[in-house]
Structure formats: structure tokens, C-alpha cells
């Protein structure tokens, strides 16, 4: 009986989730949303001003909707951070992360022998590994100065997404747009984070530029499910 009630709650939450759209990438598409491979968010930044490192954060799964839990890392899901150096939007360096038995294993950055939507784990390019954390963060730093983390974290994203879903469907009765102030739907949400910080020298110097003429890595993240 209890299970039935719980199932009903999860199901009704899923129905709510299906009826809405979520950003930044949280539950962004029917095929991936609510799965262990759902990318919730992606961040990349200079950790402190003047640092020679870059930090990459990939958040998987989310419990932004009540009853839609983030769970555990899935051993069938390979997460990849792709870095294009020359601006052709084809990856020149790849970093991989995949969990095995309570550990998150990292590989790369390596030059991929094949690009596109199919991958294998680059077992010849091990980078390091870290125990998957519970609520308290466990981190590792490799001999190359690479910091590694994997585990549940607070979802830093903020957005009034309940109102957003009404804003994108205006009517004569409701055409005022967002509220000011709005309500942060992600306040209190958690996510499964993979964080890696590494020296820029391990990625190489980009020749690609942004529209302001600054030299930039062109980056994107993917999740990839074992076939």
C-alpha cells in the first residue's frame, strides 16, 4: 500500500515534469529527462583570477521537481567533456568520467581517434580517480595537479521555471511575462556533480576566438550510454 502511494506520487510528479520545460539543460528533452544520463547543467570557469587552471563542472540528474530524485551515478553512462582548440567545432581534446564500484574514473585529456556520437573509454589515457562522495566532499589531486570530485551537491542554478512555462504560452488573460520578484524553482534542489580542475597546459593553447576576438576553448559536454 505504501509502495503504491509512493509510486503514485512519483508518477504524478513525472506527469508534472512532462508538462513543463526546464532550463538550463535540466530535463530538457523527452528521451533524456529523468534518466541517469540527463545533463542538468554545465559550467566552465577560471577558478581564481590569474589561475592557470580551468574548472569544468557537469551536473547530472536533478531533483528539481518533488519526487523526481537525483540518484546515483550510472555505470552504463560515460560523461565526456569536449574541447575544440581551432574553432572547427570538432573535439581536439576529450576528458572522460565513468563510475565503477564507488569510484569515479577519469581519462584524458586525449586526442580522440574518432569524433562524433560514438565513444569508447580511453583506457590507455588514465587521468585519475576519486571515491564518490556522500554529503561530505572527498577530493583527490593527482601528481599532475588535477583535482577531481564526484558526488551529490547543491544545484547552483536559479530560474523561475514554473512561471517560465506560463510565460511561453501567453494569453489575453495572462500576458504580463515574468514576475518581479519571481520564485527560484531550483532553491533547495540537489544534483550529481562531476568536477575536474586541470592546468590549461594539459589542454593546449586555443587558436579559436569568440566574437570579441578573445582566444577561447569551444567546449561542450555529452552523456553516452553503453550499447
Amino acid at each position: 500500500m505504501k509502495n503504491t502511494a509512493k509510486t503514485a506520487i512519483i508518477l504524478s510528479s513525472l506527469v508534472v515534469a512532462l508538462g513543463i520545460m526546464v532550463a538550463a539543460d535540466h530535463i530538457d528533452a523527452p528521451d533524456s529527462m529523468g534518466t541517469t544520463a540527463d545533463i542538468a547543467d554545465y559550467y566552465a570557469f577560471e577558478p581564481t583570477e590569474g589561475s592557470d587552471n580551468t574548472t569544468f563542472v557537469v551536473d547530472l540528474q536533478t531533483n528539481v521537481v518533488d519526487g523526481l530524485p537525483y540518484g546515483t551515478f550510472d555505470e552504463d553512462v560515460l560523461t565526456e567533456i569536449n574541447i575544440d582548440l581551432d574553432g572547427d567545432l570538432v573535439e581536439d581534446k576529450v576528458i572522460q568520467a565513468i563510475p565503477r564500484d564507488g569510484m569515479m574514473y577519469f581519462f584524458g585529456p586525449f586526442d580522440p581517434s574518432q569524433t562524433g556520437t560514438s565513444s569508447e573509454v580511453a583506457v590507455d589515457s588514465p587521468l585519475g580517480m576519486v571515491e564518490i562522495s556522500d554529503a561530505t566532499a572527498i577530493t583527490e589531486t593527482t601528481a599532475d595537479g588535477v583535482s577531481l570530485f564526484a558526488g551529490p551537491r547543491q544545484d547552483p542554478f536559479f530560474f523561475d521555471f514554473n512561471r517560465y512555462n506560463q510565460v511561453v504560452m501567453p494569453s489575453a488573460e495572462d500576458n504580463s511575462g515574468f514576475n518581479s520578484p519571481g520564485v527560484d524553482t531550483f532553491d533547495g534542489a540537489n544534483t550529481m556533480s562531476i568536477v575536474i580542475e586541470l592546468p590549461n597546459a594539459m589542454l593546449g593553447t586555443p587558436t579559436a576566438t569568440n566574437v570579441l576576438g578573445l582566444e577561447v576553448y569551444k567546449t561542450w559536454v555529452t552523456t553516452n550510454r553503453k550499447q
Binding site: 547543467d41 588514465p126 580517480m129 511561453v168 559536454v221
Partner: protein, 238 residues
């Protein structure tokens, strides 16, 4: 075009699963040597199985692009299994249509006709090219230009420069101190930036809730999560 791509994807998938099935010596395990740091027991030798082929199921570059500009669930799914070098050609026309559809929706909701409200070139034109005396720029960021840039969905990250998703500086008309496109920090207000570029027009405040117009350039919420200056930077789960 769409059908062709879909067929290609199915064919590719069939080919790949065939390839996996025929791969009799999938022995891609690795010996965990001492240079795999992170284990307390440095002498530990552990064989871990990483074999198999993995197919892309989700994708993310800039925040919110797929969510906001892909008009249907089918397009969102296609976007998640696409590669960025092909994205502009595949998704730009649909993104531009969706951008106009949002404007048309508000035109109708406000009692006008769809032709009355269109996307207007945003503040990037003035920032990139400098404002003329009358505020007009020679090279405005048209809906086509904007959606072409956004369709190639990658996050640009500048090594050795401070990270800012986008900051319009002192604002219109000169945008003194405007910086950005160097990455994304945990606290950047990426939603407001996106809304300003999509709906803000030439001064960034075209639909700011004034004079009976809708508020479309801000969702009215700001950063509030716990973060740290120490790795891994994100706060403990709540």
C-alpha cells in the same frame, strides 16, 4: 532533411550495434597501475572493466539553448544526439522560427497581430560595433545572426582570463566595461542574459514590464545557492 537525418541515425545505430555484437574480444579492461592516483592503497592492482561502445544521449553547450529554442520534443531529442559542427545548418532555421513565434505569441496576447511584434536586433550590435550617435548600428545582430551563433551550441571558455558569461557593463548606449563570453561561473545569471539577448532589443529593456508591456528580460530571481572558494566549489547537498 529531417527524414534523411533520421534514417541515417537509424542506419548508423544498426551498424554500430552490429559492430558491437561482432566484437568478440571486447577485452578493454585496464590494469590500475600506481600512476592512477586517488586510491589510499597505492600498491593496489585492480582490474576494472571499461569495455563497450557508448552512444551519445544528452548534450549541452550554452545553458538553456535546447530548452528555449527547440520548438518540439522531437527537435530537443535530435539536438541531444547531434554534433556541434553540424548544428548551425540543422537547427538555425527552427531556432529563428521559434524566436519569432515567441514574439508573435505576445503580439496576439496583447491584442495585436503577429506582424506587429518582431524580434529586434539586440545590444550585442552596439557592444561589438559601437553605437552611432543616434543609437543605430550598421551591423545589427539580426534574428538570423543571433540564432546562427546560438545554434552552434558550444560554451566558449577563455583560459587565463576572468570568467563572465556576459555583463553589459554600464548599459546603453555605450556599454562601457562590457565583458563576457569567457565561460560560465556558478553564479552567472545565464537566464537573464539569454532573455535580454532574445527579447531586450537595442537597449536591453524593450520588454521590461513598462507601459503595459510584459516583463520578458528578467525572470526576477538571483543567485542564492551555497558555493565555496575551495574545490569542488559547489555546496553540500541540502
Amino acid at each position: 532533411m529531417k527524414l534523411k537525418r533520421y534514417t541515417y541515425t537509424i542506419a548508423l545505430g544498426a551498424l554500430l550495434s552490429l559492430g558491437v555484437a561482432c566484437d568478440s574480444d571486447d577485452n578493454d579492461s585496464m590494469m590500475m597501475e600506481d600512476d592512477m592516483t586517488g586510491m589510499e592503497d597505492d600498491g593496489m592492482m585492480e582490474e576494472v572493466d571499461f569495455s563497450g561502445t557508448f552512444m551519445q544521449v544528452d548534450y549541452m553547450g550554452r545553458p538553456g539553448i535546447n530548452t528555449v529554442l527547440s520548438g518540439t520534443g522531437e527537435i530537443k531529442n535530435m539536438h541531444n544526439t547531434a554534433i556541434p559542427s553540424e548544428m548551425a545548418a540543422t537547427f538555425q532555421p527552427g531556432f529563428e522560427s521559434q524566436l519569432e513565434a515567441y514574439h508573435d505569441g505576445y503580439a496576439v496576447a496583447l491584442g495585436l497581430t503577429p506582424e506587429d511584434v518582431d524580434y529586434e536586433p539586440n545590444i550585442l550590435g552596439d557592444i561589438l560595433n559601437g553605437p552611432d550617435a543616434d543609437g543605430y548600428t550598421d551591423n545589427p545582430v539580426s534574428a538570423t545572426v543571433l540564432t546562427s551563433v546560438l545554434a552552434a551550441d558550444v560554451l566558449e571558455v577563455a583560459p587565463n582570463l576572468p570568467t563572465t558569461y556576459f555583463n553589459p557593463g554600464a548599459g546603453a548606449p555605450a556599454y562601457e566595461g562590457a565583458v563576457g563570453l569567457t565561460g560560465r561561473t556558478l553564479s552567472d545569471d545565464v537566464i537573464d542574459v539569454s532573455l535580454i539577448l532574445l527579447f531586450g532589443g537595442g537597449n536591453g529593456a524593450r520588454f521590461a514590464g513598462q507601459d503595459g508591456l510584459p516583463l520578458l528580460v528578467s525572470d526576477g530571481v538571483g543567485f542564492s545557492a551555497n558555493i565555496s572558494t575551495e574545490f569542488p566549489y559547489l555546496g553540500a547537498p541540502e
